[in-house]
């Protein structure tokens, strides 16, 4: 719950974003750059821009509360509608990347910690050292070069699906799931091929911190007094490593996974640009570069809400995993 004040802070921030921005917000909401003076004045009144700042803030909060985030100049649609359409694409990408990262980082970290100083350990550490150094947008582009241009394994790196495949009936908005529901295996494969490169380049960047923290906390766990106790009564190796060491070691990983997820939400901006992924981040970025601020505002708010959700999930997971934390 501690992240709720942050959400409020972001609300105020986005409001200020609107105020501080160069130019007159009323102009943005008018029918176009050529709108007459009267029209702008009318909109100014409609938007309440003639009122005092606190009043405006109240109005703004009220609007947000009703789900009204304004209208985008680029698409001419309500921002909420645009975001709702694009959000599944971003989430599908982020979740897939997180899954890839967790599935590879945790075992790597554990392996490295079990045999410190071994070749595996050095390999993992080298990989971690290099992994955090390569920017997501560079690794994404290099993946395109290798798998699309050189090997021809990957499809044209544009969008969620190639032009020849028809979209499945939308149920969840997650293509991988929608195709499965529709029973369209070819479609699923096509979507998967589009998804894998961007997900991979996003995952590559966060595998390193995850593997690093897993290794470190596993080392602490393995060297702890309670693992020694477990060994002193002759518990089996598996029991010691899994039930005693790993379960304790996973606690900091949960916290870091939350932060990693946030990082990935940010990295979405870069990856979606590289792969022309039709998600919320690329939508916001396009809007930002063409001075269309309502979508940017909406995007930041959306990210903040997602972030509150993520924090909540992390808190709940942590509370389940660690009896010392009580969920209030």
């Amino acid at each position: 719950m501690s992240s709720l004040p942050a959400l409020f802070g972001v609300l105020v921030f986005t409001f200020l974003l609107m105020r501080v921005l160069p130019g007159d917000p009323a102009v943005f909401f008018a029918s176009g750059p050529n709108a007459g003076k009267e029209e702008v004045e009318l909109i100014r009144k409609q938007m309440g821009l003639d009122k005092s700042v606190p009043e405006q803030l109240t109005l703004y909060l009220y609007d947000v509360g009703r789900g009204n985030l304004g209208r985008s100049m680029m698409t001419g649609q309500l921002v909420t509608k645009d975001l709702r359409e694009r959000l599944p694409a971003s989430l599908e990408l982020t979740f897939t990347a997180l899954l890839i990262a967790l599935v590879s980082a945790v075992p790597l970290g554990v392996l490295a910690a079990l045999k410190p100083g071994s070749i595996i350990d050095h390999g993992v550490r080298l990989f971690c050292a290099l992994g955090v150094c390569v920017p997501t947008f560079v690794s994404g582009l290099l993946l395109i070069y290798v798998f699309y241009y050189l090997l021809g394994l990957a499809p044209d790196p544009t969008g969620r699906i190639d032009v020849f495949t028809s979209m499945p009936p939308s149920r969840t908005g997650f293509l991988m799931i929608d195709f499965l529901i529709a029973g369209d295996i070819d479609g699923w494969w096509a979507a998967f091929r589009q998804l894998i490169l961007p997900a991979l380049s996003m995952a590559l960047f966060v595998i390193a911190p995850l593997a690093r923290i897993t290794r470190a906390s596993m080392l602490v766990s393995l060297g702890s007094d309670f693992v020694r106790t477990a060994r002193s009564v002759g518990l089996s190796w598996r029991h010691v490593v899994v039930t005693y060491a790993l379960r304790n070691a996973i606690l900091p990983v949960i916290t870091i996974a939350g932060i990693v997820f946030s990082t990935m939400l940010g990295a979405n901006v870069l990856v979606e640009k590289v792969f022309s992924w039709p998600g919320v981040a690329s939508y916001a970025l396009d809007a930002l570069l063409s001075s269309d601020y309502a979508p940017v505002q909406g995007f930041v708010l959306l990210m903040a809400s997602l972030f509150v959700l993520v924090n909540l999930t992390v808190d709940v997971c942590y509370g389940i995993a660690d009896p010392r934390v009580s969920i209030e």
């Binding site: 007094d225 020694r228 106790t229 477990a230 518990l235 304790n248 660690d322 009896p323």
Partner: protein, 556 residues
């Protein structure tokens, strides 16, 4: 004589560290009979714990047995495969560790942890193991065991955690228990309860026990035979009585002398031939002229933190110049808080402190550094390892108060004063340019004392000044403090949990419990005839060498 249960033969253990190979155990030979209780005593770095860990093959990755044999029932433990070792651990020999709270898995219910140990060695259903774990909790006298089964270590007190640890260790009825400093870090009263329980269980189930400890008194109380180790070697082996009455090895002599007992005097702590100066008997000081105000008067002091209950309440005392007063209590008794209030490092919530006739209790702690009394009240802090600024040399540490409080600005005058202080505490001048990490524990303690007395204070508050030191170092530090008291007419407020030390160094003692004074009076009278139940309990809990050896003699 029958074949011993455990026979360690010429054991060598070394550790590979970044500074090269360090030999921790160099040729230890000892044996333990079935059902026997053996005490393994030594100061830090003596290799006593390493010997214990080598026996169960639980050394960390850096440690290695380089030579020697460890025969358990005739089987060499050092040559066992990891599988055979697993069947041995817990089932035939098990360990009890120091610091029980961290020795238990923090996120697993204690009942589950006991059941884990049982299921490893016995074929039975989970339910049966659970029932047996419950039985064990009952055996270690945990109240309300049904409810405690599901408790996590953080919900239990330190003493309770150690009982759970004992339950785990005895779960499969091993023939040998190795207890590594099982009571260090517990309060004295808890210490006694836990040790009594451990001894009773071991003797009832016929388990042999190796008690590894730095405390000679503890070993004397519970062991029939004691082995003394120094720097990886075994120096003496004897029954407690022989060991205390007629120690043969010089190290043992020093150790026995340095261990404070109920009747030991401060000058006896170091054997006569090593004392280096002539002991002066405690000349009774002439009583202060009537009407002289006491040096320190504390009136109804109280402290509450945040919204919590009072940490200290209604604390009143007086001290005369040159007097030494002991402040005794278990953890949470408020003795540290009280000492910090008197030292004006934290503000009291209520009450007043009068020093030399002037009220200083109302000067906020944050402004007290400007008070003229700042240099009169100084403090020696608990752990010498943490009481010196890592970026200051020993010289800087001692010079600091001189520069801030005595107005010295460097140069020869400062150097002279620092060297003089160092000399008074027995710190060689060539150690002054060293940084704390280049000094030993005893040397750091001396620097801390030199810093505190540099400005010639009139009241010195000592917060467990020897708790982190080995007994032989403690002996020297105590003598030093007592000498300074007599030479400077310095008043000592000595905060400690160690009753033997307080009895020896303090003329008067105040017993604190839960922030309130339980009893106070002349130390000797208070310890010999405690009036309150709590003090009686405290006194009874101190392992006391003389009484123990007498008891052992009677038993024979």
């Amino acid at each position: 004589m029958t074949e011993p249960l455990l026979k360690i033969d010429n054991l060598h253990v070394s550790f590979s560290t970044r500074r090269g190979v360090v030999e921790a155990v160099r040729g230890v030979t000892l044996s333990v009979q079935e059902g026997e209780v053996l005490g393994l005593v030594g100061e830090s770095g003596s290799g006593k714990s390493v010997t214990g860990f080598a026996t169960t093959r639980l050394l960390d990755a850096a440690g290695r047995v380089t030579a020697g044999k460890i025969l358990f029932r005739g089987q060499d433990v050092t040559k066992l495969s990891s599988d055979d070792l697993r069947h041995l651990r817990g089932a035939a020999m098990s360990m009890i560790f120091q610091n029980p709270r961290s020795a238990l898995n923090p996120i697993r219910a204690v009942g589950q942890q006991i059941a884990d140990a049982i299921l490893t060695h016995k074929r039975m259903s989970k339910e049966a193991a659970h029932a047996e774990a419950l039985e064990l909790l009952r055996a270690v006298q945990i109240r309300d065991p049904e409810r405690r089964m599901a408790a996590y270590p953080h919900e239990l007190s330190g003493g309770m955690c150690q009982r759970v640890m004992i339950a785990i260790a005895i779960s499969c009825n091993p023939a040998l228990l190795i207890a590594d400093e099982p009571t260090t870090g517990l309060d004295v009263t808890t210490q006694k309860v836990v040790m009594d329980l451990l001894a009773a269980i071991a003797s009832a189930r016929g388990m042999a026990t190796i008690l590894i400890t730095h405390d000679l008194g503890l070993a004397a109380r519970y062991c029939r035979r004691i082995v003394v180790m120094e720097q990886g070697r075994l120096v003496e082996e004897a029954a407690p009585r022989t060991l205390f009455n007629a120690p043969r090895h010089p190290y043992t002599k020093r150790l026995v002398a340095a261990s404070p007992t109920a009747s030991s005097r401060i000058e006896d702590l170091v054997p006569e031939e090593e004392r280096g100066y002539v002991a002066i008997g405690d000349r009774p000081k002439p009583p202060p002229a009537p009407g002289t105000p006491p040096l320190l008067e504390v009136r109804k002091l109280a402290k509450r933190f945040d919204q919590g209950a009072a940490a200290v309440a209604e604390f009143s005392m007086t001290m005369a110049a040159g007097e030494s007063v002991g402040l005794v209590g278990e953890s949470g008794s408020g003795k540290s808080t009280t000492s910090r209030m008197i030292c004006r490092l934290i503000d009291p919530s209520e009450g007043d402190i009068v020093f030399d006739g002037q009220s200083i209790g109302h000067v906020p702690a944050r402004d007290f550094h400007r008070s003229p009394f700042r240099k009169d009240i100084q403090m020696v802090f608990q752990d010498p390892n943490e009481s010196l600024n890592p970026r200051f040399t020993a010289f800087d540490c001692i010079a600091h108060p001189l520069m801030r409080l005595a107005g010295l600005r460097g140069g020869d005058a400062l150097r002279q004063r620092v060297e003089e202080c160092a000399q008074r505490v027995g710190l060689p001048a060539d150690l002054l340019p060293r940084f704390p990490h280049q000094l030993s524990g005893g040397q750091k303690a001396r620097v801390g004392i030199a810093r505190a007395i540099a400005c010639r204070p009139r009241l010195l508050v000592l917060d467990e000044p020897t708790a982190a030191l080995d007994v032989s170092v403690q002996a020297v530090v105590l003598q030093l403090l007592d000498r300074l008291r007599r030479e400077d007419d310095l008043a000592l407020l000595f905060v400690s949990h160690d009753l033997n030390v307080v009895r020896m160094i303090c003329g008067r003692t105040i017993v604190l419990r839960n922030g309130a004074i339980v009893e106070q009076g002349e130390s000797r009278a208070l310890f010999d005839n405690p009036k309150s139940d709590y003090t009686r309990e405290l006194v009874a809990a101190i392992p006391n060498i003389e009484i123990e050896t007498r008891r052992a003699a009677a038993a024979l």
